[in-house]
Symmetry: C2
Subunit: 219 residues, 2 copies
């Protein structure tokens, strides 16, 4: 399984200057992909290579710090346990779907996932685990309480929350992420994302909504 320590919060121990350096590395990563050099980072951040090595150890350390820094920036607000009716549940699901689509189609997410996927091949570090922990698994942790509350309120019907979540995930993301990672041009306008979010939510409710009586077997 994944390292439990992958999502420890390191953003507190960073000085402002260090954050600025990591931001520079992040921008460079988005522009150049994984073939960014230490020299390039130093030049972009207007710092010396010696400082980079003193702060982050080596290249992999810089990369992991960059990934964790970005992860710490998207730390999310826990969803409030509001009173749940079908409308608010639908709105909540649509919000999650739109947020997720916005994330996975963003330049930084694509760049970060690219380097993490590349590094997962030669398992030196656990960039993949970090990305996964702060991406897909963080989404699950945020969404599951909503699903459980929906079930509690009699709005949803499923036996395994994880299975339900993964179906929702599939209906939302479909082939978007893999196509973007593989370099397919895929314009996701704000409107298209909104449309996809309501479509995915409607489909999910059709499959797991309790009201309709009939539903697909959820295993």
């Amino acid at each position: 399984m994944l390292q439990a320590s992958a999502d420890i919060d390191t953003s507190e121990t960073l000085t402002e200057r260090q954050k600025a350096v990591l931001d520079a590395a992040l921008r460079l990563l988005v522009e150049e992909g994984d073939n960014l050099t230490m020299t390039a980072v130093a030049r972009r951040a207007s710092c010396s290579k010696e400082t980079l090595y003193k702060w982050f150890g080596d290249r992999d350390g810089l990369l992991t710090a960059t990934v964790q820094w970005q992860a710490s920036k998207v730390r999310v607000v826990p969803v409030d346990g509001e009173r749940l009716d079908l409308a608010s549940l639908t709105a909540s699901l649509e919000g999650f779907a739109a947020d997720w689509l916005k994330v996975i189609s963003s330049d930084t997410s694509i760049a970060l996932n690219r380097v993490a996927v590349g590094h997962a091949g030669s398992g030196k570090d656990d960039l993949g685990a970090i990305v996964l922990e702060n991406g897909r698994f963080a989404l699950a942790r945020r969404l599951k309480p909503v699903l459980l509350a929906g079930k509690q309120a009699g709005l949803l019907d499923f036996t395994d929350a994880d299975t339900a979540f993964r179906s929702f995930f599939g209906l939302v993301a479909r082939d978007v992420q893999i196509r973007l990672l593989l370099g397919d041009r895929l314009e996701l306008t704000e409107a298209a994302i909104g449309g996809d979010a309501v479509r995915a939510t409607q489909q999910f409710l059709a499959l797991f909504g309790a009201k309709t009586g009939r539903r697909a077997t959820d295993l």
Copy 2:
């Protein structure tokens, strides 16, 4: 959009020896990831580096040739336009789902997608386009006739075949591919794949089946 020339068949112009070399490169790619060296390929294939460069130009040429070679190996049989009832449609969909899960969870697919994703970052070659063309888009080309036939036979109800396909794709793949690419251990036994295939098919039929009368809006 994607290069139309990405799926030209090069498997005919290759000698047996060349195919053997590419097989060696493929095995090495699965084992070592993207950091395979020309020397390693030459040693594994028992050929000289001079030959590698004469045949494939440079390292990128060897990589693209390897990817295309693997792609040409999984060229599929077109689905036969059999008489369609619900049982045969269900079986066909389950077959597609199981096949796809088997493919994306295979070691070679993971390795190939990893290098393609990595190369998509620094857009020197179009490995990503090749993988996409022979993976996700090939699947769509094979599946769409089945969906259309299902609609024709009054078994399915949708307005846009592409949208229906992408929902099917999402229900089948869910988070499997991205998790595997990011290095998450995810045991997919034969039985689990079979179970997922029927689950995804049932969910798809629940959403797009025509018999039930009620269905989710498909856009």
